[in-house]
């Protein structure tokens, strides 16, 4: 659209980009290596190390920790998939949490970008400041909100919702999905509470990630669709969503990878049988089992998994971008 005008503009003086000196580049590479590569190599080294009972670890080159992860400690006598399950729960919770966060952030951000500049600024400041809350605070908050005696279950009881459900005979359904004890609603230690809290954790990030794409969306596109007979829902489905599908996909992927490492939420809200790799890593490294090499092996696997997802996402979005 601006092609013709761009040609009319006087050619700007070429911006001279001075090539940074070799030392500067080397410095940058060294800094990057120090910050990213060295810790990773350290973890990688430990993961092949030898566990010394009650004392830590020693250098070595053992595959036993990886074997334990994929096949179980007692393989080949018996096969155990406990840690693969943990990885599975990591992926499961992170995926659902990320999808819910983005799904809820999308309509909010869309309406946010249609507000006045001033309202947008206020909202963005509030969102940004909410990022300063640590996971621990947020989990504590939800812990109270969902607790049986003082939180949502007590409220539902107080307003008679619990009795209403019982009278209608629907209470059993809540029990079946694990959101109620025989007498009252019970939200804590459930997949519901875990996913809720994880989605809540990353929701502000989702808004901030979607905001640039949605605010760049030309309002004329929406208006054009309206003049061609599209109802508001159809406009969102046929114009807005396709225009921002790459940012939507990218944000979901990023938040998914971010949520793979969630620790506090899982350890407070998830059922111990559904604990994720992050919790298991902590247990190995600092917690009950004190097995640093095994913890390191799990970390390496989690990192590689996250990396694989990012690479696959990159490939997918490239394919989607050119299609």
């Amino acid at each position: 659209m601006s092609l013709s005008t761009a040609e009319d503009l006087p050619t700007p003086a070429p911006i001279v980009v001075r090539e940074p000196s070799l030392w500067f580049k080397l410095g940058l590479v060294a800094l990057l290596a120090l910050l990213c590569l060295v810790p990773f190599l350290f973890v990688l080294t430990i993961s092949f190390g030898h566990k010394i009972e009650g004392a830590g670890w020693a250098f070595g080159f053992e595959f036993s920790h990886y074997k334990r992860f994929f096949l179980g400690a007692t393989w080949p006598e018996t096969f155990q998939s406990l840690y693969i399950q943990r990885l599975g729960y990591s992926l499961f919770f992170a995926a659902i949490g990320a999808v819910i966060a983005v799904a809820l952030a999308f309509p909010f951000t869309y309406f946010l970008t249609r507000m006045s500049r001033r309202a947008q600024t206020v909202w963005l400041v509030v969102l940004l400041s909410s990022l300063s809350l640590s996971e621990v605070f947020i989990v504590m908050g939800w812990d109270i909100l969902l607790s049986a005696r003082s939180g949502l279950p007590a409220l539902l009881d107080g307003i008679g919702f619990t009795d209403l459900m019982k009278d209608l005979g629907w209470f059993q359904w809540f029990r079946d999905v694990g959101l109620a004890s025989p007498r009252a609603f019970k939200f804590k230690t459930s997949g519901f509470a875990t996913v809720l809290c994880m989605a809540y954790l990353v929701w502000p990030y989702a808004v901030i990630l979607l905001y640039p794409a949605l605010s760049r969306l030309d309002p004329a596109l929406v208006e054009a669709a309206r003049t061609m007979g599209a109802r508001p829902g159809q406009v969102v489905r046929t114009v807005v969503l396709p225009s921002v599908r790459l940012p939507l996909f990218g944000s979901t992927l990023l938040l998914f990878v971010f949520l793979l490492g969630t620790y506090v939420t899982i350890s407070v809200f998830a059922d111990p049988s559904q604990h994720t790799l992050a919790v298991s890593i902590y247990d190995s490294v600092r917690g009950s089992t004190l097995n640093a090499p095994f913890g390191a092996a799990q970390s390496v696997i989690l990192l590689i998994t996250a990396g694989l997802f990012l690479i696959a996402g990159q490939k997918l979005s490239k394919a989607g971008g050119t299609a």
Binding site: S4, A224, A225, R226, T227, M228, G229, S243
Partner: protein, 357 residues
């Protein structure tokens, strides 16, 4: 067939009145240009017709049906946006057939209709291109085809030429006008370019500060401007400040005659407008002819097709324009010449209104 009628339409944005008491009829099958400087309310008026804005007051009728509160997606007036607003994620054919896809028309029929329209806008074979692969002019054609695909009762264009370069613009004006006449659709074009409006329109609405200053055919508006704003906005004009005096008009020390199309009370302030091509450099001072003002040539601009003579007179600076075919004796800068203002070519307006332009 149904005319589109606006009755006492007003639009306020907060305390700002964008459109004020507009009464207009857009006759069926005719092309109307909404012409005015930026911020005059012409785009707001167009958006109200499309249903993208709701009037604060007034009524919008399509034939005998009131559509004031009808939402845009039910009016389905085809609209071409200033930046064309083509959907980048859809192909050219999918863009054109968008309204049909919304209606739920089958894919094969959508494609057939898109091909039909591509032929109408002379883009045969472009159906599978991406929007990003098109030039500005091609995008405009796609936008026009897309707006016409739903066979709208009214066709709206918001500054459709502004994203095109000057050469293409002139061609597209003619092409769009021919297309509109072929399709025979009620069309409203918003523009700030008087040449564009005069090239395309059956009817021009000159707007300023939310009001319609004059409504008429291009020729009416050019030859009989209703006020000094219209005279200055449509074409060029020299303006003289004066006062009415006994059926004539005093400008400085000179008394000028003009057609008495308006009755002015004595001493009421007036603005007299005369178009550059209507003023004449006289051969000699001829008192019998009247309406003469002494002038001195300050500059001659000869651009081939026209010659503009810049003059300094006791009542202000003026420009006289001669076409290439008109004979004019050789003149030189500094020469003193009598300037003749033919009475029948003078437009006299009351001066109490704030003269714009």
């Amino acid at each position: 067939m149904a005319d589109l009628v606006m009755k006492a339409i007003r639009k306020d944005f907060g305390s700002f009145r964008a459109v004020d008491n507009i009464n207009l009829t857009f006759a069926h099958g005719k092309l109307t240009a909404l012409l005015g400087p930026s911020g005059c309310g012409k785009t707001t008026l167009l958006r109200m017709i499309a249903g993208l804005e709701t009037p604060t007051r007034g009524q919008l009728m399509l034939g005998d049906q009131e559509i004031t509160a009808k939402p845009a997606h039910q009016r389905k007036f085809g609209m071409v946006f200033q930046n064309f607003a083509l959907f980048p994620h859809l192909s050219v054919a999918e863009n054109i057939a968008y309204s049909l896809a919304i209606e739920g028309v089958a894919k094969a029929r959508r494609r057939a209709r898109a091909d039909e329209l591509l032929e109408l806008v002379q883009l045969v074979g472009y159906g599978d291109r991406r929007i990003g692969e098109l030039s500005g002019g091609q995008r405009q054609r796609v936008a026009i085809a897309r707006a016409l695909a739903q066979e709208p009762s009214v066709f709206l264009l918001d500054e459709p030429m502004s994203a095109l370069d000057a050469k293409l613009r002139e061609d597209m004006q003619v092409e769009l006008r021919l297309l509109q006449q072929r399709v025979g659709i009620t069309t409203i074009v918003v523009t700030h370019d008087q040449r564009e409006a005069m090239t395309m329109a059956d009817q021009i609405v000159v707007m300023s500060k939310g009001r319609a200053e004059q409504v008429g055919t291009p020729q009416e508006i050019y030859s009989r401007p209703a006020n000094s704003f219209v005279a200055s906005f449509i074409g060029k004009a020299n303006f003289l400040a004066g006062e009415a005096q006994g059926g004539r008009f005093r400008v400085g020390d000179y008394l000028l005659q003009a057609p008495e199309s308006r009755q002015f009370t004595n001493n009421s302030p007036v603005t007299i407008a005369v178009r550059p091509e209507n003023a004449v450099i006289a051969e000699t001072e001829n008192a019998a002819l009247g309406n003469n003002i002494p002038a001195e040539i300050t500059f001659i601009r000869d651009v081939g097709s026209t010659r503009d003579i810049y003059l300094k007179t006791p009542v202000g600076e003026m420009i006289v324009e001669y076409g290439a075919g008109e004979t004019l004796r050789p003149l030189s800068v500094g020469e003193k010449v009598p300037l003749h203002l033919p009475p029948e070519k003078l437009h006299v307006f009351p001066r109490d209104v704030e003269a714009a332009g």
